[in-house]
């Protein structure tokens, strides 16, 4: 298996008003092609910062980071990844279809190709009927699905998601998690997923990275033994509960340092 994301001894220090904050400390991690990796930890543990480093939205202070065998910034310019933010961030003046085609326009895809891809990708997130609708006509969960479609529209095989369902309620979230898994199975993308929720992390991931703050670091990496095929009620099985327990232990251990 080839490595899509490979980080070795990554450090990142922010200069803030009252001194330096070490957002990432000695982060070493390999993500293989086709994996679904969740990052979980309390605020300030560096999970979002790490994702932003992979996206070349932040620059590490030291250490090496390669994405698709390139530097993170080269990978960004090669459009190696799609990024889903916490808020959908759809343009209110564009229809859902035109929102999804935004990256395609910027990357200079031909018109016909844009139209085809928008159709395909909206089908993929179950929004085919909403192509001509405006964002305000959609619920929050549908808007977030549209933003995932936007990240899938171009051929990036890496999907970076920063708490994409954090602002949604539990029921919508469960539904979207289920859809995300089937999407992942069909598209065979590599996913990096930041979350606050233990059940979400365990349910989605093939690998769970537990992090803790001050300094932001990895405290545990758990390879999930759960099968790839996961119905929602897998969350009641003993295996699932055991992994969730280990994640919780990892989070607690991280906290005992301060």
């Amino acid at each position: 298996m080839s490595s899509v994301v490979s980080a070795k001894n990554l450090n990142l220090t922010f200069d803030t008003g009252d001194g330096q904050v070490q957002a990432l400390s000695c982060v070493t991690l390999d993500v293989a092609r086709g994996e679904f990796v969740s990052f979980i930890g309390p605020s300030g543990c560096g999970k979002t910062t790490f994702l932003r480093c992979v996206a070349a939205l932040e620059t590490p202070t030291s250490g090496t980071l390669s994405v698709n065998g390139m530097s993170a910034d080269e990978a960004r310019r090669a459009r190696a990844y799609g990024y889903v933010f916490q808020a959908a961030g759809l343009y209110p003046w564009r229809t859902i279809g035109r929102n999804v085609s935004l990256p395609l326009e910027i990357m200079g895809y031909p018109r016909e190709e844009q139209r085809r891809r928008v159709k395909d990708v909206l089908q993929l997130v179950d929004l085919a009927a909403f192509e001509g609708k405006y964002p305000w006509q959609l619920s929050g969960g549908m808007q977030q699905r549209a933003s995932i479609a936007r990240a899938l529209a171009f051929d990036a095989d890496l999907l970076l998601m920063d708490e994409p369902f954090g602002a949604l309620d539990e029921i919508v979230r469960d539904h979207l998690n289920e859809q995300l898994l089937s999407l992942w199975a069909r598209t065979e993308k590599t996913c990096l997923f930041v979350t606050h929720s233990i059940p979400e992390a365990v349910y989605l991931s093939t690998k769970i990275v537990v992090m803790s703050p001050r300094p932001g670091r990895i405290t545990d990496i758990i390879d999930s033994p759960l099968p790839r095929e996961r119905p929602l009620d897998i969350r009641d099985t003993a295996e699932f509960i055991e992994i969730a327990h280990r994640v919780r232990e990892g989070l607690r251990a991280g906290h005992s340092h301060d």
């Binding site: 310019r77 459009r79 933010f85 961030g89 343009y91 209110p92 003046w93 305000w136």
Partner: protein
């Protein structure tokens, strides 16, 4: 279709809502207008009374209350003309005169309006260009806005004659100098509003476009410009009112014979207070219409773009 009214039809229910609106909004508005008119009449009697008394004293006659009321509200050159005198003057100069006549207020208003609109167009274009420069160029960001602010602290009444004289000396006369003064007043709110507007997209929106590897011009046309429109329209409302003030002020120092400013000036030369008030009211109506048109445009454009939903 059956005889029953279709309550789901487009426009259904508007009639009732319309009547409710009339009852809810018209009554307070009319009350305020009536109170203002009453105050105006009282003010006219009070301010013009001295002249009536002086005349009576000179003629050796007694001033009775009915006589006082009658005289103060019908003087030819009152300190404060009564509302009906201004209304009569407006009727005479707006409706009774052909619009091509030099005595028609519509003709004068159009002279001022054309300078206003040209100045507003120049000022808006200049304001947008400066804002684009400020947002994209660090040197302009540091240098332009202080000068723009400084430009607005100079009293326009002091600057207007200089602009007219300088432009006249290079052979530019008529509409353009007035439009320049209009533009001078109207570009400022547009710069300030557009700088905020072009900077309105948050960090997440900017990051998203960065992940696509978007160029600066792509960011500008696809994100910054559309995001700035609510700010632009708010500025345009201020700007167009300022442009009208600029056009009128531009007519004052030149001894212009045409335009609302010229009417104000000649009215004050000859003590024609009724004419001054009529011109002032006309200017107010023009301002209201201009701001109203921009407001309507704002509503339509922003509504279509899905802002504020």
């Amino acid at each position: 279709m059956s005889g029953a009214p279709n309550i789901a039809a487009p426009g259904a229910g508007i009639g009732r809502r319309g009547r409710l609106w009339v009852r809810a909004a018209l009554l307070p508005v009319l009350t305020v207008v009536a109170a203002l008119l009453l105050l105006w009449y009282a003010g006219a009697v009070w301010m013009n009374a001295q002249w009536t008394r002086d005349q009576a004293a000179r003629a050796g006659t007694e001033v009775t209350l009915p006589l006082l009321l009658q005289d103060t509200l019908s003087q030819e050159r009152p300190l404060l003309p009564a509302p009906h005198q201004v209304a009569a003057e407006l009727y005479d100069t707006v409706i009774a005169k052909a619009v091509t006549s030099k005595r028609s207020l519509v003709y004068h208003a159009w002279i001022t309006l054309s300078a206003t609109l040209l100045g507003f167009a120049i000022g808006t274009a200049l304001g947008i260009l400066l804002a684009v420069g400020i947002v994209h160029n660090r040197a302009m960001d540091m240098s332009v806005l202080p000068w723009a602010i400084a430009s607005q602290t100079i009293p326009i009444l002091a600057l207007a004659p200089m602009i007219i004289v300088v432009m006249n000396s290079v052979g530019v006369q008529g509409l353009l100098p007035k439009a320049v003064i209009s533009a001078y007043l109207s570009f400022f709110p547009v710069v300030v509003g557009m700088v905020s507007g072009l900077r309105a997209p948050d960090a997440m929106q900017m990051d998203l476009l960065k992940t696509y590897g978007a160029s600066r011009s792509q960011v500008f046309w696809r994100l910054r410009l559309p995001s700035s429109l609510p700010y632009l329209f708010a500025s345009l409302k201020v700007g167009i009112a300022a442009a009208l003030v600029g056009a009128i002020v531009g007519e004052l120092p030149t001894g212009a014979v045409r335009g609302l400013g010229a009417r104000l000036l000649s009215g004050s030369y000859y003590g024609q207070t009724v004419q001054i008030w009529a011109a002032l009211l006309m200017a107010a109506v023009c301002a209201a219409v201009l701001v109203g048109v921009v407001g309507l445009l704002q509503k339509v454009v922003l509504g279509r773009m899905g802002f504020g939903r």
